[in-house]
């Protein structure tokens, strides 16, 4: 996918919805997981890193991707879960590179293991993929100060689109807020630094909205 460039102009608020689909690939042990990762379409790898935020979930996200969570909870392999949990999807320019990193870690673990870690048939890993449907909310802002009133009104899926999905489509894996604010050159660089410290993986979308709202309120409150 072509990466979007930083541009200075109005900030258009968009929203999104995911159409999730089964791929037919599944794994019951670590070797099958490895083989499926190798053969499944790259979009499915992305889904299991990014889309968890939009799925029904209750627990605190202990791991930032489904592969790590499955290794921990189904295979009961804490070592592998910790290693997979540290993969940062924003550090890869291509999904193929991230896929290779996953394969390297799993193969290393297979080399270390005397027995292939296994789980029961009802705890299999099912590979899912998705299509993202993006639509306009028909709201546009021109002045960054408007973020103070805008962000609390954004839907969770709009937060997902602008703060998480953005990292897969912008140069430098930026969220859309920073991508827009950098267009004002040095003026909002300090605000961008604050935003860059907000880790998207360990909060739910409503929590992220609240944290973003606080950041913008504090920042523009102080500047007024």
């Amino acid at each position: 996918m072509p990466k979007e460039k930083i541009t200075r102009g109005p900030f258009e608020i968009k929203d999104c919805a995911l159409a999730a689909a089964a791929t037919g690939h599944k794994a019951q042990n670590l070797k099958e997981l490895r083989d499926s990762i190798e053969s499944v379409m790259p979009g499915s790898i992305a889904y299991h890193f990014w889309a968890g935020k939009l799925r029904p979930r209750f627990d605190d996200p202990e791991f930032n991707n489904d592969f790590a969570a499955w290794s921990r909870h189904a295979l009961h392999d804490k070592v592998l879960a910790e290693r997979l949990g540290m993969i940062d999807p924003t550090s890869f320019d291509r999904l193929e590179d991230m896929k290779q990193e996953l394969l390297d870690i799993i193969e290393e673990r297979l080399d270390e293991s005397e027995h292939i870690p296994w789980t029961s048939s009802d705890q299999q890993f099912h590979f899912i993929t998705s299509q993202i449907v993006v639509f306009s909310s028909h709201r546009t802002i021109i002045d960054p100060k408007e973020l103070v009133s805008l962000v609390p009104e954004m839907t969770s899926s709009s937060i997902f689109y602008h703060f998480i999905d953005a990292r897969t489509r912008t140069f430098g894996h930026l969220d859309d807020f920073r991508a827009w604010l950098y267009g004002f050159e040095e003026k909002y660089r300090d605000l961008c630094d604050i935003l860059s410290s907000l880790d998207p993986f360990f909060s739910t979308l409503p929590e992220l909205r609240q944290q973003l709202s606080l950041i913008f309120t504090d920042y523009f409150g102080e500047k007024r």
Partner: protein, 413 residues
């Protein structure tokens, strides 16, 4: 007059409804038809009764058709249902011929509308062969499977597969339920309607009145399972769990409430087994409720201290969602869609045996403050994930997805 969408906006928030209005824009004017086999009874009919008017209010030209069949037709499709859930069911050739003839006859009356529709949703195996009899169809056809088909009885699946393989897409409730098919297989979890008679808020006085009229003592603890009298719901296992719990909590009462469904001829056989197992225990209340007893079910769930759904197989388990929406922790069978709703120690407990269910029931009835806390979490979880508005959004999304072709990303203008 307040529209239905306005009423949902009060519960889910206006942003959720705005989102639906934006998502539906490319579908305005599209002709959509849903087809199933019963207008009353069972989760599918309940969902369609709500989804269809909402889609209409959003500007989609949508209708809901119900195919008709005789007793042998429903005997056959009940066999399909059990077989898809893994039961070894041999279906006689004569019943299969009747099944195909019934669909052919129904197609005669529906063909013009189905062939003209832009999008057709065929629900479950009952009307699946309709596609075969609509050779001039112009729209996209979805086969919506509401059943846990993760380990189907293969000969029956092989037979049904020949009817569903030709669809443009299928929809399953969970990835684990999907069977390999030569088209895209979407995933949509079901939902409940917070404004339906079965789920809307009731006054305490109404709850007390309904339940005491059923002979239940309001001063004593109640555990309940609401579901069809179906072997996969394990009502006899629930009675065993009740007896094990009652040894420690002698005042305990059990309600087993099941609705009748026009397409479920086996219910009476299972009901007889349940009555035998209950052995005239005055604290076991077995209720066979008519399909429209939604308000009574609502009251029963609200009056219960604990709700069980001890299924051995479960598609999704909407009764679990309903109970959680009413702030009840659920002790559920560790199977199917119950797993994505019941989170151990958070919204309830997953169990595998009557003994496991009894242990968790004792635990919750002993820790009443925890019971309350888990119930509140359960309600919040349903609000975020399993209300009708989320379900509708996903239906709209897959319709847009299929009409706009493949690719990872669709940008609507």
């Amino acid at each position: 007059m307040t529209s239905a969408l306005d009423r949902y906006s009060e519960i889910c928030g206006p942003d959720v409804i705005d989102q639906l209005r934006q998502l539906v824009a490319p579908l305005k004017g599209a002709k959509v038809i849903h087809v199933n086999s019963t207008r009353k009874g069972g989760g599918v009919a309940e969902i369609l009764a709500k989804l269809v008017p909402l889609k209409r209010e959003l500007g989609i030209d949508v209708s809901w058709e119900v195919i008709e069949g005789n007793a042998d037709f429903f005997k056959c499709t009940k066999g399909f249902h059990n077989a898809l859930q893994g039961n070894k069911v041999e279906i006689p050739r004569s019943l299969l011929e009747n099944y195909e003839n019934t669909n052919r006859n129904n197609a005669e009356g529906l063909r013009d509308r189905l062939e003209e529709a832009d999008i057709v949703f065929i629900h479950d195996p009952q009307p699946a062969p309709l596609l075969k009899y609509c050779s001039n169809r112009k729209g996209k056809w979805f086969w919506r499977c509401h059943i846990d088909a993760s380990k189907p009885y293969r000969p029956v699946w092989k037979y049904l597969r020949s009817f569903v393989a030709g669809y443009d897409a299928s929809i399953f409730s969970l990835a684990a339920f999907a069977q390999p098919l030569p088209h895209i297989e979407y995933l949509i979890a079901p939902s409940i309607d917070p404004l339906s008679e079965k789920n809307l808020e009731l006054d305490r006085s109404e709850v007390d009145s309904v339940v005491s009229n059923l002979g239940v003592d309001l001063e004593r603890p109640v555990m309940t399972q609401v579901s069809r009298f179906d072997i996969f719901k394990d009502p006899v296992g629930v009675i065993q769990a009740y007896r094990l719990t009652k040894k420690f909590i002698p005042t305990l009462q059990l309600i087993l409430a099941g609705g009748e469904a026009a397409d479920d001829p086996e219910a009476m056989t299972v009901l007889d087994e349940v009555r035998t197992a209950a052995n005239n225990d005055p604290d076991i209340h077995i209720m066979l409720l008519p399909p429209d007893a939604h308000r009574s079910i609502n009251a029963i769930q609200r009056a219960s201290d604990i709700v069980l759904q001890k299924s051995l197989k479960e598609g999704f388990g909407l009764t679990v969602t309903e109970a959680m929406w009413k702030g009840k922790p659920v002790i559920g069978g560790d199977t199917g869609g119950i797993r994505i709703q019941v989170v151990n120690h958070q919204t309830g407990f997953l169990v595998n045996t009557p003994e496991g269910a009894a242990l968790r029931a004792r635990y919750l009835l002993f820790h009443t403050e925890l019971l309350q806390e888990m119930g509140e979490k359960a309600r919040s979880f349903v609000r975020e994930n399993f209300l009708l508005t989320r379900h509708l959004r996903e239906y709209l999304t897959i319709m847009v997805s299929l009409l706009h072709g493949r690719g990872d990303r669709i940008e609507l203008r």
